[in-house]
């Protein structure tokens, strides 16, 4: 099977500080890949490089057979890589419906947007997506007036309606209730039927429950890859991440 994404020897240098020091990562279609690792390991930076927000100092990022290392962000998105950021970011002064209208798959060049009218088909797709997110009844509300959880769902809905081939999620369940976490977890494997997902997550319970393939990062490098059980038995991983983390949890009384 051809990989969706291939990162080869990616290096990111922030004025002398190497946030990524030669990362290789390969993701296949329909895969849900978890990225874990201690704070500052470079997980967010890696997602940033993939979606074009941060430029790789060296190395290559391939999306299917396209080299996207130097592509502008909006083109990368148009090719089919969607990114959800850590904090929910929606457009507060547009309604839920209008937020979806901007997100839906469409020709995003100025000259088509100038003439664009919502078609019936688009409205159907938008309504169906909102229904799935439990937001259909809120569609005429300004998005800024939604609750925190609703905003998260709206944003996820906005990612999905783009029909991406690769979805990048950065700590999506932070700030969610237990029920919402569960819903997110189930839903992760549902969307994997359509696209590949890379998800950064700190919550080890969540990772244990919903992961198949896990990549552990540490100090800008990939430490190891495998199923969660394999990874948990890796000496190095226990050393730098899990062990330390357990202690940290113990200290904070969790």
């Amino acid at each position: 099977m051809k990989p969706v994404l291939m990162c080869r020897d990616v290096i990111v240098d922030f004025d002398g500080f190497r946030a990524l020091q030669g990362v290789d990562l390969t993701v296949y279609p329909h895969e849900v890949r978890f990225l874990i690792g201690p704070n500052g390991a470079g997980k967010t930076t890696l997602l940033d490089v993939i979606c074009g927000r941060t430029r790789a100092t060296d190395g290559r990022v391939m999306f299917f057979s396209h080299d996207i290392t130097k592509q502008p962000e909006y083109e990368i998105v148009q090719m089919g890589i969607a990114r959800k950021f850590q904090s929910p970011s929606i457009f507060p002064f547009l309604t839920v419906w209008e937020n979806m209208e901007l997100a839906i798959r469409q020709d995003r060049r100025l000259r088509s947007v100038l003439r664009a009218k919502r078609t019936e088909k688009e409205e159907e797709i938008m309504a169906a997506q909102l229904e799935r997110m439990g937001l259909l009844d809120e569609r005429h509300r300004l998005a800024g007036t939604l609750s925190h959880g609703q905003k998260q769902w709206l944003e996820i809905g906005m990612q999905l309606i783009q029909r991406p081939q690769l979805l990048l999620l950065d700590e999506p369940i932070a700030g969610m209730s237990a029920a919402e976490r569960e819903r997110t977890g189930e839903w992760l494997h549902e969307i994997a039927e359509h696209c590949a997902v890379i998800i950064v997550e700190h919550d080890m319970d969540f990772v244990r429950r919903y992961s198949k393939q896990v990549t552990v990062m540490h100090e800008g490098k990939v430490l190891c890859e495998g199923s969660i059980d394999e990874v948990q038995q890796n000496e190095q991983v226990i050393d730098v991440y899990l062990g330390r983390r357990k202690n940290a949890c113990y200290v904070s009384g969790m």
Partner: protein, 352 residues
């Protein structure tokens, strides 16, 4: 919504009929204010909708006015050198003045030059992700450069005095009341057309993209839009509006000088829109008319007071009425709707 549309029709009808109920003097003032209202529509587009604060729109207005004025000056000189050129010892008409003897060239340039300058400035700044205060300062720097240039190149531009002493347009005397009325109507029509065009743009999908850019530009980028293209487009469009406004202005006022395109006028333009309500195109128009009416009234009676008052007004609007007159109107309407609903509810209770 239907009510609102009727309101707009009424508003423009009242403007159009103004020659029948205003004195010649008042009409000439109103015509001037309507030109400025055209600028205000453009500023509402870029500032209220897209979040770009330009403190340099005087330049685009001025360029439009100068282009038109060059044609008027040549027509007034009747084949001779314009008077100010003779005074500065110029022997021959400079090459770039020559095409301006054709009115169509002058009109086209009055729109194209501001648009082009705005496109250049905005492309290089927005492409490099310069925004906010930095962009405002940059737009102001352009004002300083251009005003200095226009004052310095006296033999080409008329220096501090600017261009004035026109006589005819398309062969019609500019001082005749009839010509002035026709020009007034032309201005009203331009304002109405520009207002309708701007409303179309903002009520369609483009308007949503602009608001999205204003509130979360990065997010827009990661939805796959290229914000630079959109910002350059809307900024250049607003400059084009300002150019049209300048051309119409000089036809009615008969004078354009560097002072009228400088820093203070540029800031005043933003202020009209702030007072009117920058999120509302109609608010911007009303703001421009109200503020300029106040200005001409006050500077007729208390010339020193105007600038002070302007400053005070700015502080008050920013602190207490950030949505301007349009915001006040909207909350009044909201209160009325609420009251009406309340009455209906009471009525229903009575019946039951």
């Amino acid at each position: 919504m239907v009510n609102q549309r009727w309101g707009y029709w009424l508003f423009f009808a009242a403007l159009f009929l103004a020659p029948f109920y205003l004195t010649e003097f008042r009409l000439s003032l109103l015509g001037k204010f309507l030109c400025l209202a055209i600028v205000a529509v453009g500023i509402s587009l870029i500032w209220g909708y897209t979040g770009i604060l330009s403190l340099g729109h005087g330049v685009y207005f001025g360029l439009g006015a100068y282009c038109m004025a060059m044609y008027l000056k040549l027509e007034a000189s009747r084949g001779h050198l314009p008077d100010f050129m003779e005074w500065s010892g110029v022997r021959e008409l400079p090459w770039f003045w020559k095409p301006f003897s054709y009115p169509m060239v002058a009109i086209a340039a009055a729109i194209a030059l501001p648009t082009l300058l705005a496109a250049l400035l905005s492309y290089f700044t927005f492409k490099n992700r310069i925004k906010g205060v930095y962009f405002s300062l940059l737009s102001q720097a352009v004002v300083v450069v251009l005003v200095t240039l226009f004052i310095g190149k006296q033999e080409w531009t008329g220096g501090t005095n600017g261009l004035t002493n026109f006589s005819t347009v398309f062969g019609f005397s500019l001082s005749s009341p009839l010509t002035q009325i026709v020009l007034y109507w032309l201005t009203t029509i331009c304002l109405a057309l520009i207002f309708v065009a701007a409303r179309r743009l903002t009520s369609g999908r483009l308007g949503k993209v602009l608001i999205a850019i204003r509130d979360a530009e990065n997010r827009v980028r990661f939805l796959g839009f290229n914000p630079t293209v959109y910002k350059v487009f809307v900024y250049s469009l607003s400059a084009a509006f300002a150019g049209v406004a300048g051309a119409l202005f000089v036809l009615q006022v008969g004078l354009i000088s560097p002072e009228m395109m400088g820093i203070i006028p540029s800031i005043e333009m933003v202020l009209w829109v702030a007072v009117g309500g920058r999120h509302s195109l109609m608010g911007a128009i009303v703001g421009a008319i109200v503020m300029n009416t106040a200005k001409s009234f006050l500077s007729e009676n208390y010339p020193d007071l105007w600038l002070l008052l302007l400053g005070a007004l700015f502080v008050v609007v920013v602190l207490f009425v950030p949505k301007g007159l349009a915001g006040i109107y909207e909350s009044l309407v909201a209160v009325r709707i609420k009251a009406k609903r309340g009455h209906e509810r009471e009525a229903r209770v009575d019946v039951s």
